[in-house]
Symmetry: D2
């Protein structure tokens, strides 16, 4: 298929590379040129503008946040204005349910297909074509772009005919990660005060019921109080929790743990923690238990 990829960060670059490897005809666009050149070296065509990347069967966006996606979608020369009638837009960024609905509506008005397809997996998984893709959109449209998902991920879950449902699933996943961080932070604060070594404690947890990557990865950061450099910075954590709460409010779903997480992030930022990894909210539980402050 002829696929445009907009956004060549760690995730987008891996995705584009795997589309090339799978034999697709790939055009790439990025605000800064060097990332474009690296993919051209792998066989991609360069796009000078967003519009240049919208002429194929599919245009896939992988950008940082709502603002970036809205920018390339709704601006002059953006996707809505420029894409060909048969082009399907796949949005793989972690964006709000609200923006996903606006994109759905705008594409419908323009008579084009739209699929939300956020992914689970880190840059290494993107590079290895091992992402998990959570896709939603009209069945026929989703089916028409299956070769794209096959090229970038190890498995695709189609969750709804309403694109925004996929964004809801992705955001809820980040909420669950935040819940793990907070609960581990509380548990470690407790056992630490009880004289138990936090690393050994984590070893017990991950040897038994909690043998999942999320406990290993974040547990290790929390036990080590290693919050810099940030893998995912606290302001981004707050942003995602805000998007979850906003989507939940629209659906009238109270989420007490998300409310707690929001308060934790606000406090961390009020204390100057903007540069810290989002797992640093765990340090607040420790400090509330009287631990000296290692985090700020």
């Amino acid at each position: 298929m002829r696929v445009g990829v907009i956004g060549l960060g760690n995730m987008g670059a891996g995705i584009a590379a795997n589309l090339i490897k799978a034999g697709h005809d790939v055009t790439v666009y990025n605000r800064s040129r060097p990332k474009v050149d690296a993919l051209v070296a792998q066989g991609a065509r360069p796009a000078e503008t967003v519009a240049d990347a919208c002429g194929g069967d599919v245009v896939l966006t992988m950008l940082a946040n709502d603002e970036a996606v809205a920018g390339v979608a709704f601006g002059d020369g953006g996707i809505i204005a420029s894409a060909a009638p048969g082009t399907v837009h796949i949005s793989s960024s972690t964006i709000s349910v609200d923006l996903s609905k606006r994109l759905t509506e705008a594409h419908a008005t323009a008579g084009r297909g739209f699929v939300a397809a956020p992914v689970f997996g880190r840059p290494e998984a993107a590079a290895a074509a091992a992402l998990f893709v959570v896709a939603a959109g009209p069945t026929e449209t989703v089916n028409s772009v299956t070769p794209v998902f096959d090229a970038i991920g190890q498995r695709t879950f189609v969750v709804s005919e309403d694109p925004s449902a996929a964004n809801l699933v992705k955001l809820s996943g980040n909420f669950l990660i935040g819940s793990v961080i907070e609960s581990l932070g509380e548990a470690m604060a407790l056992v630490d005060r009880g004289g138990v070594d936090k690393h050994q404690y984590l070893d017990i947890l991950t040897s038994t019921l909690f043998s999942a990557p999320v406990y290993r990865t974040y547990g290790s950061l929390i036990a080590s109080e290693q919050f810099e450099p940030a893998g995912f910075a606290a302001p981004l954590g707050l942003k995602d929790i805000r998007l979850v709460l906003s989507a939940a409010e629209e659906l009238r779903v109270p989420l007490p743990i998300a409310s707690l997480l929001r308060d934790r992030f606000l406090r961390l930022l009020a204390e100057g923690g903007d540069q810290l990894d989002w797992s640093a909210i765990s340090s607040l539980a420790a400090r509330d238990a009287g631990a000296s402050d290692h985090s700020a």
Copy 2:
């Protein structure tokens, strides 16, 4: 070693059987006789009284709760009064930090050894000698009973010289399970209102970052709203959260998620949920989002 085992429920019976298999000289005691007979058939000696089970190198208790353990420990003819000078008491029940401290003190006064060694694992793991043992007590005492742990578990973690630290670790583990139940309950209430199938959602979670037994086991119960029969009844969940909060209060550690869990359990019980599995607190998040009530 000569080992007495007091308490032959699902867990204790498996433990006693594996001690026999490992070649130890095992005496068993239980309030109701049939469970004793079953182990005698496997090679154990029967004890008529608690005191009869306290004459060896080790007496291990595996009972339901604080009341039961305090009963066999402190009563007339109980362990404190009856055990031989060289006998080490291993307490493997999930008991309070407070009771563990009282046992430590009473045994110290009596000049005997005491080790707290709660376990992680279900009855099947107990039967398969595949438990994880979290042990704490004076190093020499713990070392002296290592053969017992080797016979019943796949791995032993020695976490402190203070026995009650092991109980704290066990209780904190149950707090973390409760946190998973609550956060999954909230997340599933959210995606359900967003039109996503809960079982598919769970499949996504457990295929990615959340591939741990605790998410599979409880996620399945929550997605199915299958809360009867109870694997672990709600009143026991409340009891363990109360013990965690009580231990945390003693150490002056605030645990906001544990406070939330406590309120959830109180509400579930106030509404008549005594017979339900503790994972039924997840139904409250669903109902707060306007779902009709399937749980009570």
Copy 3:
């Protein structure tokens, strides 16, 4: 002074009438005409359009919410576009901090004065010129409109040179009322389960430390479970709590009780409580304690 009043609901009508009584030259505008006529009978001039009400020394807006205020301010023929250079805009509605900042900026750009002056008091207080006015804006501008405040209220508090600070104070007051509702709801659920009559309990409270109108008014509604007709409907309660949380997030201030209130309102609305008074969130505490449902 020549004063335009836009918005003649229960509050605005009382304010306009008192401005007339105080001898000001008052022009009134309202979307529906009968309310205009009633004030014309008292001596006001009628305005056919928003612009017609913006020609004097002051234009005061008293409207339902952000949308209504933004509509008369920013639209074609709105206040920003139509007011004379010397006209000062007084916004007395309960609006967001964010809208207040946008109004401040727009008026500054247009070279006009802007004062935020939300009020504390019910329609009866507005009718009796007994409001409490919380005003903020540049000192000189606020001083220039003092006669307006004197005509409508019993006391004016000038809290800041930044207009939005007055809106923050007003919103925080509604947060405090919500806190009283929730805490009374919890306390009454408790004593009710303990066999104490809720009305007598309220009598004890308001005879002692809690002898304030907010306890009397809301306590009586809560004890009687009298939530219809709504004096202030639950969706408005949610809206104000959302505005408080949003302002607090901007300032990075965690507000745990506001988070709890938000979850309460979402649940009440998810269960169909849109028509109920906002004090109906108190019924949730009662129901969580096992009380049968009287509220929905």
Copy 4:
């Protein structure tokens, strides 16, 4: 009536003095003798032992906490063992619902009357015979001791035939005060960050809907960050919240704000705030908003 008064702290001394003034025949007991002498000078008879104070129509206890009351009630030579058959025990201390039930049972077994009658009011109100008495017990028993209440208070509320209901009411009152402290702490943290003077803010509140002593008294402490010397120390605040939560758990009533207060007190104490007034929990909201630390 012949009345024994046990416990001559600030509250008990005022109560005893007013009983004397009302013409009752008063015997007083206190652990330290000087307080006894002061009342003897006013006309009381001194008691050398608890038992000496239990020979009249009524024995009233006004002591610091559960431990003190249980000590004089259940010990050798205590009230249960020593009081005459016709003596009614009035317990006016703030004690747990649980202890109140134990006292009820013990007195019933002994064939004597028991009335719980905690009071609302500070030492000045006790001195002025202006307390509010919340009484509970069998109607006939309560009626028989009415002259005592008339002598010490301005009004008596009889809330139940079950004595412990009066203790529940008293404890719930302290919970409501704690709620006011926390909500004011959050609101003041917010407006402070918004540039509003906290004292002026309090003036607005107490001039309008919040014109109650509890807002004036605690609002002033919070605005001034004046937490020493403690009028009511933080550990006592934690104790009362614990008693409320415990009584609520027995009745299966979730109290989310009480859970929040508990976490606040634990944190304050973990940080070394034992000497501070309980209103110092308000400083935590301020610090979470980035305010520098004035409290510890």
